[in-house]
Symmetry: C2
Subunit: 447 residues, 2 copies
């Protein structure tokens, strides 16, 4: 990938004139213009470029800019100009942008929009964030059943600029109920007098307004859709969600899952954009819960205080045994949690996975027992090395099995299995590891 | 989402006849037929349905089926039929499928393919897995510079069925060098005598054959592309990658990152499909490395044996202090590693993130110190509760900062920052935790 030649823009901005900037901007992709503006949000170049773009392009570029910078860029924009900008935006971007404004500006702005735009906006704002309703776009191409392919194409030609996509068109009955989807590919190949209904694709796929954004992304990925139609409770078509929004959702959901895996919850932004307070809030909850959980591990150790006092050498091996239990558990939990998230693993797989882990964790435990026994005989007496080796097999097995079963149990109970974060699994494996270690040691060392 | 009415298929298969099955299959989406076949791979229904599908649909369905099941379904297929199937497949799916066959069948099959298909296949097989070359499809719509929009649409109409997509068309010069991309939307809106060159979109985006699949996915996501053109080293257009392949890559890369975060490396499949041996192999490496790393923690404890022997109560708090260091580190490492993966965090952010973590981890450490001091005074003497509280602030700070700096350091050194898995960070934080704890305890308790 070649670096983007932003110098062209910098030079044009340097002239201080309007037209050279507009001409230079024409040579860039909207996403690149957005990147330049984001990089220069602190200085005059960012805002300068944004204000000089023609309104339609400005609306397009704004859709690629992150929320915080959208606010910075438009806070000084007069209301009339803001209304013009909002009118040019796709309906989904417009609703997102509107949500960023303070309430007084929202009230004033909404009055300046055209009737149709105002209605669209009000209806989109009513949907809960994270649902299909909040993601969807209301600018879709729709035809009533019975129209010919030729007329459909003529209409598309005339209206294409206002539509989010014309590559999928939607056929509805007189009540606006969705009957089927026709691709532009089929429309264009068909003889012009073909009735559109005969071009409908097999197997209608759709979401309802309350379908989760994760569900939306799964449907679009599974069926390789360009766009997914969204229906209201009466099966009437009221919007579409395009593949690019699904890609953003997949990335967002992966980030959320990865964060949960590290016991970071409910963080809207990445670490770079997040405020110290929101980072604190997203981290403190699990840290405190895990402190209390670790008190059990401490209590486990305290319970064996006498044994430990008599054989302090046992302490040397404690961290590696306890950590191995946690690490094996972290691995199997990671595999199961991701498997559940991608749909690869379902609840009824539990016995199969349990048996497989029995095999895998035994093999892992044995390998590690041999390793640690070899280290042990150079470091301590044979009895302790043997205790450590036996314990290793037991704790890796215990950790591995906990990592398999806990996420599946949570999922079965309707709790997000990602709550079985690595730190939580590690903590549970820790306490099991301590108890197993000192129980085995007691059995072997006690007279 | 309503359940898919697979009973229709089961009933049709029950008749034992061909036509009812074909008729029933027409009502389903190819992805759903693939799902039905995968669910019934062990019994006669899966194979029965697959064999009865018309060849074009069979090829389409096969593209949605996982590799292992593709092998199962086609292992008894006669070569002539296999060649017919391969001919119907899109070029990228065909190359993937070909790679699954054993060498002797590959040799025989390739001879049965048409000249063009054979050339396409041979060239695609030459590219390294995980690159744009291995992902791309060679069935794109291309026009030489200078053609009119009307003629272009006429040609698209005639050839659309063979193309992966007709919604993006590519304009090349007489040497096949890519000049620009024209969307079907623009082609269709333009007056028919418009020269295609004037419809080219701003800002050409493309990949080379050796661009990584991760890079491909980033480009498609950033620019919201329907398809990304792929060039050879001479800037000649030789393929395209469509958005649906990018979605699969995003998901695949997220899975890889999540696995690495749990110290599971190089696993091609999910836990359900992976063999016990491949699971063992992907897990043992880090487990053994971490055992050796934990020996340092053990040595740390051994170093303070005398202190511990004199104050066994210190042991009770060891797990929660050491775990808190690891947990805080797991959180900050998770945030940084994901930030680097999504492009949110770059190396030059290190100082900013370090300072932010200083604030956040101090606040986290103080909250936890207060919590643990309150628990401590009920459980032990004031001196030890105070040692524990001071240690808590120090270890959370240490863990948090290690979690920020280690991934950035690895990235700076050109090592995948995801190698800073949670178990590794936890282990490093553990040893730091032990040393900090007993050093503080020695300072306060020693006479």
């Amino acid at each position: 990938m070649t670096p983007i030649p932003f110098q062209l823009l910098i030079d044009a901005l340097g002239t201080g004139q309007h037209q050279p900037v507009v001409d230079a901007a024409q040579q860039f992709n909207a996403a690149d213009l957005a990147e330049f503006i984001e990089q220069n949000i602190g200085n005059s170049a960012g805002n300068g470029l944004f204000q000089k773009l023609p309104m339609a392009l400005r609306a397009k570029v704004l859709g690629y800019i992150n929320s915080a910078d959208q606010v910075t860029l438009t806070q000084a924009t007069p209301l009339a100009e803001l209304a013009e900008l909002a009118t040019e935006m796709p309906s989904d971007d417009r609703a997102d942008f509107f949500n960023l404004l303070d309430e007084s500006r929202q009230q004033l702005l909404i009055k300046l929009l055209g009737h149709q735009d105002r209605e669209d906006l009000t209806s989109l704002l009513a949907f809960e964030e994270g649902t299909a309703g909040a993601l969807m776009n209301t600018d879709y191409a729709m035809f009533e059943s019975g129209i010919s392919a030729g007329s459909a194409i003529d209409i598309l030609r005339a209206t294409a600029t206002d539509k989010e996509t014309i590559y999928q068109t939607y056929v509805v009955d007189e009540h606006h109920t969705l009957i089927g989807v026709v691709s532009l590919r089929r429309l264009i190949i068909a003889p012009p007098d073909t009735i559109i209904d005969s071009l409908i694709a097999n197997g209608l796929v759709f979401a309802y307004t309350d379908t989760s954004q994760d569900g939306v992304a799964r449907l679009i990925t599974k069926y390789d859709l360009l766009a997914l139609p969204v229906l209201n409770a009466d099966n009437r078509l009221i919007g579409i969600i395009t593949y690019d929004d699904a890609m953003d959702v997949i990335e967002e959901e992966a980030t959320e899952d990865i964060h949960k895996g590290g016991s970071v919850s409910n963080l809207d932004n990445g670490i770079n954009a997040a405020s110290p307070f929101s980072l604190y809030r997203s981290r403190i909850q699990w840290l405190v819960i895990l402190v209390f959980a670790n008190i059990f591990t401490g209590a486990g150790i305290a319970h064996f205080e006498e044994l430990i006092g008599a054989h302090l050498a046992l302490l040397f091996f404690m961290p590696l045994l306890v950590a191995s239990a946690g690490n094996a558990g972290a691995q199997s939990a990671t595999l199961v949690v991701r498997g559940i998230a991608t749909g690869d693993v379902v609840n009824r797989d539990w016995l199969k996975l349990f048996k497989k882990e029995l095999v895998v964790a035994s093999a892992l435990g044995l390998t590690m027992a041999i390793t640690v026994w070899t280290v042990g005989i150079f470091r301590t007496e044979l009895a302790i090395a043997t205790i450590v080796a036996i314990t290793m097999v037991a704790v890796v097995l215990a950790g591995g099995l906990i990592g398999i079963l806990l996420p599946l149990l949570l999922n079965r109970l309707g709790i997000d299995p990602a709550a079985a974060s690595i730190p939580l699994i590690t903590t549970i494996a820790d306490v099991s590891g301590v108890l197993i270690y000192f129980t085995i040691a007691t059995a072997i060392l006690s007279p």
